[in-house]
């Protein structure tokens, strides 16, 4: 009997231990019904600034704010792009999200639709609103609410090894745009036994394909929210078709690069294995840092099909709907959006600031060198993309579009099969 009692006691030790620990730490329940803040408040700002100059610029923005607003203190914390979505899912559920959330418009649309983000429209001054093009504001407008302030933008640009192009007799384009036909011709001409004309890191191809899709007026989706439907026509398939053609028909694009990331391809570019690469504008930082002595490079004019349009997917600053300090958080966001601040962060990340005044400041600071001139010019071509308002887009992107495009760009399936897989896959995802 003694043994049995002891057994029961011992088996309960683990459960009791955990319960005691939790119980000992428990205090009063948390008040979920917080009203608007009065008196001094403290805000938390989770920044995703990545490059060191951008991290420093963000810290300075916060320090300047705190010095000027002793009654509204901002505590800066550092997050990571890789994990922000998972983090926000739980933080919104638990009501512990930061007062100012750094993310991107494609990611926050789902949270906004679930009602987690505050409408900033009443709190954004007219001057700040006017400084950013309406098309960019549209990218952060969900169900008529302005759920974020758009801060930085990325475009896909063509980086060129000017020496290799000149050796191949390719004249550097000087027009306002570079057509896809001209890109294909230049890549073909620059291809030699030792170097390919083009490298393109497309390990995750969907973002690039839908981002450059507006070059050919691709929509990908009609409608919005839960009622959206997919559209996969010739326009939507034009970007992958042209990439595939350069890789497997022209032989001017290295197929291996299609399986690599953008940063991987830069190494081969700097090693002289590619005359050109297509990548996000931020890659310029890596090129600048790693370029060997004497390496000459430039950013070519924006790519254009029927237009030079690209999908705008701006980085954003949002405020949780349940924050008791929405007005104060919005005031800090407005401070962040001021031209000099936005310019400093954009320059650090090698991205495009959303306001024209901030772009001017970057131009002044950089003199348009290191590709900044062509990169900043791309801002005029950014348009709202339909996919950003589609609730199931992230799921379709990860589960359907990315693997299907990877198979197509590995020459495993043909274009009609790609079309079928993208369309049928949407039916699975959308139910």
């Amino acid at each position: 009997m003694q043994g049995r009692r002891l057994a029961v006691a011992m088996q309960g030790v683990a459960v009791l231990g955990a319960a005691a620990l939790l119980g000992a730490c428990a205090t009063t329940p948390i008040d979920d019904e917080q009203g608007p803040a009065t008196g001094p408040v403290t805000l938390t700002f989770q920044s995703l600034a990545f490059q060191e100059p951008s991290v420093a610029a963000t810290k300075k923005i916060v320090d300047d704010w705190n010095a000027a607003h002793p009654d509204i203190t901002v505590n800066l914390s550092q997050g990571s792009w890789d994990a922000v979505h998972d983090q926000l899912v739980t933080q919104f559920q638990g009501g512990t999200a930061p007062d100012v959330i750094h993310d991107e418009s494609a990611d926050i649309a789902g949270f906004a639709r679930q009602g987690y983000l505050a409408d900033l429209a009443p709190h954004i001054p007219a001057a700040t609103r006017a400084a950013v093009p309406q098309g960019v504001w549209d990218a952060v407008t969900v169900d008529g609410k302005t759920v974020a302030a758009p801060t930085l933008l990325q475009t896909y640009v063509v980086f060129a090894n000017t020496a290799l192009l000149q050796q191949a007799g390719v004249a550097l384009p000087t027009g306002p745009t570079l057509t896809w036909d001209a890109l294909a011709a230049a890549a073909k001409q620059a291809t030699t036994p030792s170097a390919k004309g083009l490298g393109w890191g497309l390990r995750q191809p969907t973002a690039t394909v839908v981002g450059l899709g507006p070059n050919f007026d691709a929509k990908f989706f009609t409608g919005s929210g839960d009622t959206a439907d997919v559209v996969i026509g010739d326009a939507e398939l034009e970007v992958p078709r042209r990439i595939h053609q350069m890789a497997f028909t022209d032989g001017s694009l290295d197929p291996t690069s299609l399986t690599q990331s953008g940063t991987d391809v830069v190494k081969a570019f700097l090693g002289g294995r590619y005359a050109m690469i297509v990548a996000g504008s931020f890659i310029a930082q890596q090129i600048k840092e790693g370029a060997p002595p004497g390496f000459s490079w430039t950013v070519l004019p924006p790519l254009a099909g029927t237009s030079a349009n690209q999908a705008a997917n701006p980085q954003t600053l949002s405020v949780p709907a349940d924050s008791p300090n929405v007005a104060q958080a919005a005031a800090f966001i407005d401070h962040y959006m001021q031209a000099q601040n936005l310019a400093a962060v954009a320059q650090g990340e090698w991205l495009i600031p959303t306001s024209a005044a901030a772009r001017d400041a970057v131009t002044t600071a950089t003199g348009g060198k290191d590709g900044w001139g062509a990169t900043l010019a791309g801002a005029d071509n950014l348009v709202t993309a339909p996919f950003q308002t589609v609730t199931k887009y992230p799921q379709w992107k990860d589960q359907i579009a990315t693997p299907a495009l990877q198979r197509y760009l590995a020459n495993q399936i043909d274009l009609p099969t790609l079309r079928t897989q993208l369309a049928d896959g949407w039916k699975q995802v959308a139910g």
């Binding site: 939790l22 329940p29 638990g94 512990t96 190494k267 790693g290």
Partner: protein
């Protein structure tokens, strides 16, 4: 040396190279400048070795603070697991009760649930008791997460100890607790060390719970800090990441080196031999 023996050495060498290569690459990357890492064709050995990556992670990224947080959480979780798992495993291994079947079944079932499924309810519970954004909360979570497997491990070790030893203690007048702490626990040293190693390493490396529960920079653990070297769209600060990762594995290596002898010697000290 026979050809057969030579072949064995070659195979062993190849296996060692296979195992060591990632570590060598990490070592090399940690001492390579970002500019060299960005260029193609850089070899395994850095062209101009530098300590800048280590200076970066230690001075500007607060690696030491994150390591201290990780150490506190990992040690706390390890102690909690050992204190809870030893008596519980002893009870489950030695006594035949209906609770044993239920408890073992529950332990097994608890391992089936994916982390992503439990993390939101767990987060809400911890928030209610104000243990979110708390190293104490993270310690409890890591302990609870490691406990089921620790129970299974220790049950196996306890079952392997001959009952004669236990009965001899009882014959000499020792009670159950005395038997457990004075006879079983020393014989279980290898099992306890192995369990401690498992728990410590699991907690030291754990990322997802820490990501969800910890919000303050001052409370971030090592895996969280290292994750911040990875940016959007495949951007990685490779040199700093390698330097941080290299420093992060040093405590694990030291711990293994310290307990390895204890682990093997304990296994050899048979209780009923002779």
């Amino acid at each position: 040396m026979t050809a057969r023996r030579a072949g064995q050495y070659v195979a062993l060498l190849a296996y060692l190279v296979f195992l060591a290569f990632p570590l060598l690459w990490l070592l090399s990357t940690a001492f390579t400048t970002p500019a060299e890492l960005a260029r193609a064709g850089s070899g395994l050995l850095p062209g101009a070795p530098t300590l800048d990556n280590f200076v970066d992670v230690l001075q500007r990224r607060n690696l030491a603070g994150a390591a201290w947080n990780s150490a506190r959480v990992a040690l706390g979780a390890t102690v909690l697991v050992l204190v809870m798992a030893l008596p519980a495993a002893y009870g489950l291994a030695c006594f035949r009760t209906r609770l044993k079947v239920v408890a073992n079944g529950w332990v097994l079932v608890s391992q089936v649930f994916p982390v992503i499924l439990v993390v939101i309810p767990l987060f809400l519970i911890l928030r209610q008791v104000r243990l979110n954004d708390s190293l104490v909360g993270l310690t409890v979570v890591h302990a609870v997460y490691a406990l089921p497997f620790a129970l299974w491990m220790l049950q196996g070790y306890i079952a392997a100890i001959p009952r004669d030893v236990e009965e001899a203690g009882v014959m000499d007048g020792a009670g159950r607790w005395r038997v457990l702490w004075s006879i079983m626990a020393p014989l279980l040293a290898p099992g306890l060390v192995a369990t401690a190693m498992f728990t410590l390493i699991s907690s030291w490396n754990e990322f997802f719970f820490a990501l969800v529960l910890i919000q303050s920079d001052t409370k971030e653990t090592l895996p969280l800090m290292l994750a911040r070297f990875v940016g959007a769209e495949g951007q990685v600060q490779l040199g700093a990441l390698a330097a941080g990762a290299l420093l992060a594995i040093v405590p694990s290596l030291l711990f293994f080196a310290a307990v390895q002898r204890r682990l093997t010697s304990g296994l050899l000290s048979g209780a009923v031999k002779g």
